[in-house]
């Protein structure tokens, strides 16, 4: 009787606990597990739909493209393509696939790539003969614009996919025709947007195809479990072509989106790797030897800047923009405020960008901190000592760092130029929508390189480009970029691009560069190998192993 009662009791307890929605213990794959605070809930696991780094981190585990990143240098190395040829004019790339399979055993062919790329390019909402069963609105579809005919096709100006420069001579070969020689194309095909998707699952399961238990992928890991808002877990894919290189049994991505909570989780031993840091804590962490060793901050391929809305006076006056730029002591900001080893910026190009020949920084010859010149320029523009300068607003999206920087710059402008600006703390989507609509005076922005080439840091400021948002345009700037596009000599090309940067960041100054990013992260020292500091914060999980 008593035993029966106890049984009933434990059943009830089990039922109650079962309905609480607990996630359960995450590490059920032994010791070779890496728990990472990913700091965001992934939007979609569909490679075509990705737009954020947190998704890319997961995609690098689940999928592999034609080429893949070297964990140290991030140079493209063979992925699904065991080798590739580039034609002499640099316009035709031929990828030779190795035999490989999806995680369900079905073999993966060049047709899978054509399907995946077509899915990215198909204008969403239209259904064309022979097109993918359902089209997606890929936020990075424009990366494919380098392929012949891709831009016209995705904009719906051409209906025939045959016009797009893709060919599959056989099931193991993919031929890509580019508009121009594009040296960074090898880099591009490592990007999620270019990764293959399993047509047999995608078309059958449609939007559900990324759910755990349904999803089929081709990377070193496969999706094991997914709890929105809590975590995502992948486990080793035994069918991966290079499975023996893969050492981790499983990877857990915690969705914890508040960096401070994630840091607490690290301190409590609940996570080993936090993909971010709160710079306000830097002093305290650095003061602690153990924590200081865990804190990394390599340079990152990105720049933090302010946009000036040049449609609005007095910001239409280049002298005002230059004065505002010159007045900001960017060293003080990076030294004391961001404090994670960021480099103060004079140009848009981050110093960690590798070019051949090396990029000549604008530092020392651009609009560096210079209060005297700033005051002189402002006076020349008709506002001596800031007199008569209208009250401008400085909008930024709510974030501790943005806020601290805004407050610092506000104070600097007041001290140096005697002008007042009003801070407008807006929630992210509002901030972005207003910025897009040109409804701002001064607005915080940033640009992260899509690939390792200077073009990515200049193209977005072309006249009328969607990400320009300042209303600024310069024929000369556009022409220089166009010239660089067709220039095949590397040194010449870099010279043209440097001239463009000078126009953008010195002569015209529609952007006020503050600093070049670093990516701060916290990694438990001495526990993992195969994680290297690099400029894009990309760490292919394939090469990570746990130290004994």
């Amino acid at each position: 009787m008593r035993r029966a009662g106890r049984t009933v009791g434990s059943v009830i307890v089990a039922l109650v606990l079962g309905s609480c929605g607990f996630t359960g213990d995450l590490s059920r794959f032994g010791d070779d597990v890496l728990v990472m605070s990913n700091l965001a809930e992934p939007g979609s696991l569909d490679p075509a739909l990705q737009s954020g780094v947190e998704e890319q981190r997961i995609t690098l585990a689940l999928f592999e493209g034609l080429l893949s990143y070297d964990p140290k240098t991030l140079r493209p190395r063979p992925g699904l393509a065991e080798r590739w040829d580039v034609s002499r004019d640099g316009k035709t790339w031929t990828f030779h696939l190795r035999p490989s399979t999806w995680s369900d055993g079905r073999s993966l062919t060049s047709a899978d790539f054509v399907y995946a790329w077509r899915r990215v390019l198909d204008p969403p909402g239209t259904h064309r003969e022979g097109s993918a069963d359902y089209a997606v609105a890929s936020p990075y579809a424009d990366l494919m614009d380098v392929i012949v005919g891709a831009r016209k096709y995705r904009r719906g100006e051409v209906d025939d996919f045959a016009a797009v420069g893709l060919a599959t001579p056989d099931s193991q070969t993919l031929e890509v025709h580019l508009e121009q020689a594009t040296p960074w194309f090898a880099d591009l095909v490592c990007f999620p947007t270019f990764m293959p998707v399993p047509r047999h699952v995608v078309e059958y399961e449609r939007e559900r195809w990324t759910h755990a238990g349904v999803m089929i992928s081709n990377g070193p890991f496969v999706l094991d479990e997914r709890r929105p808002g809590a975590f995502l877990r992948v486990r080793k894919n035994p069918r991966y072509w290079d499975a023996e290189t893969v050492r981790l049994e499983s990877l857990v991505y915690l969705s914890t989106d508040r960096v401070d909570t994630a840091l607490d989780q690290y301190l409590a031993g609940e996570s080993d790797w936090v993909r971010g840091f709160n710079p306000l804590k830097a002093r305290a962490w650095r003061a602690d030897p153990e924590l200081g060793r865990a804190l990394h901050a390599p340079d990152y391929l990105g720049t933090y800047f302010l946009r000036f809305n040049v449609r609005r006076p007095p910001l239409d006056d280049v002298r005002v923009r230059q004065a505002l730029t010159l007045a900001v002591d960017r060293e003080a900001i990076t030294r004391n405020l961001t404090a994670m080893g960021e480099k103060p910026a004079t140009g848009i190009m981050p110093p960690c960008l590798v070019t051949d020949p090396p990029w000549r920084s604008l530092r020392g010859r651009g609009l560096d901190h210079d209060p005297h010149r700033a005051r002189a320029l402002l006076a020349a523009a008709g506002f001596p000592a800031g007199k008569g300068f209208p009250l401008l607003t400085y909008s930024f999206n709510s974030d501790v760092k943005n806020r601290a920087i805004a407050e610092a710059i506000q104070a600097m402008w007041k001290d140096v130029l005697g002008i007042r600006v009003e801070l407008l703390n807006r929630e992210k989507r509002v901030h972005l929508a207003r910025e897009r609509a040109g409804d701002y005076d001064i607005s915080r922005g940033s640009w992260i390189g899509d690939f390792n080439d200077p073009v990515t840091f200049l193209d977005f400021m072309r006249s009328g480009a969607g990400n320009n948002r300042t209303g600024w345009s310069s024929r000369r700037f556009d022409e220089l970029l166009d010239a660089a596009r067709t220039e095949s000599d590397s040194a010449q090309r870099i010279a043209l691009l440097q001239a463009a940067e000078e126009i953008l960041m010195v002569d015209e100054a529609p952007l006020l560069p503050i600093f070049h990013f670093t990516t701060a992260y916290v990694l438990r020292p001495g526990r993992f190998a195969g994680i290297f500091e690099n400029a894009r914060d990309l760490h292919p999980p394939k090469f990570i192993r746990r130290l004994p």
Binding site: D264, L280, R283, A284, A404, A408, L423
Partner: protein
């Protein structure tokens, strides 16, 4: 919620102590601009965060700003939000409650049913939505917080009016044909002033708490201005590293809320005692 319950405070010393404390806080808040304090927004990036010391009594934040000065200036904003938010709540609540009580009957039934229903809604969500979608201006803050705090006030006023309506002098005033507006203003309003005032003192801490709550979600006042709530929420994430950043303003906010609650409850108990002498 706190409106319906009472505290064990019948001795008036708690009333006096809390009143003195509130007076002190209010006085300091008013006098802040005239005190010889560090500029609350003046950054000292080299200095960074320092623990409380003789130079900075409350310490400094990661931007090297003096926390004492920021706390005092924060008091101005927190109290302002609390008072104006309460004023909005009182305005809506008194009007609504008075009309419901005066009209009585079906209108009253309907209006009170509406209040009942609104009671059960996660009202703060609407404030959040308001602040997220329409910008976090002070005006929105006042309106939002006031709009969610009027329900209990309306109930109390309605009850009072309902009982006053039958009093002789009100009946007499009605008999002389005075317009409703005048009766409400001259005869009803002065008589409900006391309970309204008491409940208002209990609303202030709630509004302040709600503002702090919004600040925690990043929806409070605009930088560089800081309320206690935003100071606490900034400090809360730095708890391990720089504990004074949350402990100091947290303690001050808590004690002030406690004092306001004590004060309001004390007032109510005293009033109840006057209503029903033992």
């Amino acid at each position: 919620m706190s409106g319906a319950v009472s505290l064990p405070i019948r001795k008036s010393w708690t009333l006096r102590v809390s009143f003195a404390f509130l007076l002190l806080v209010g006085g300091l808040a008013l006098a802040t601009p005239y005190l010889d304090l560090a500029d609350p927004d003046a950054q000292n990036l080299e200095l960074g965060p320092t623990a409380p010391s003789t130079e900075h009594w409350f310490g400094t934040d990661p931007l090297g700003r003096d926390l004492l000065s920021r706390t005092l200036y924060g008091a101005r904003i927190s109290l302002l939000v609390g008072l104006v938010g309460t004023a909005v709540a009182v305005g809506i609540g008194v009007l609504y409650g008075m009309l419901a009580g005066w009209w009585g009957g079906r209108a009253d039934l309907l209006m009170m049913r509406v209040v009942d229903l609104l009671y059960g809604l996660p009202y703060m969500f609407f404030v959040i939505v308001l602040m997220v979608w329409f910008g976090r201006s002070m005006i929105n803050l006042f309106i939002g917080l006031g709009a969610v705090s009027w329900l209990t006030m309306a109930r109390i006023v309605r009850g009072q009016v309902l009982s006053l309506r039958g009093r002789d002098y009100v009946l007499a005033a009605r008999a002389t044909g005075l317009p409703t507006r005048v009766i409400l203003r001259k005869h009803i309003l002065p008589n409900i002033a006391a309970p309204v005032l008491v409940y208002a003192t209990l609303t202030v801490p709630r509004v302040m708490l709600e503002e702090a709550f919004l600040s925690f979600l990043g929806l409070g006042v605009q930088p560089p201005a800081a309320s206690w709530g935003s100071l606490i929420s900034e400090g809360a994430v730095l708890f391990r590293e720089y504990p004074w950043l949350v402990l100091v303003p947290g303690a001050i906010l808590s004690v002030t809320l406690l004092a306001l609650n004590f004060f309001g409850d004390g007032l109510r108990d005293r009033m109840a005692a006057e209503d029903h002498p033992a």
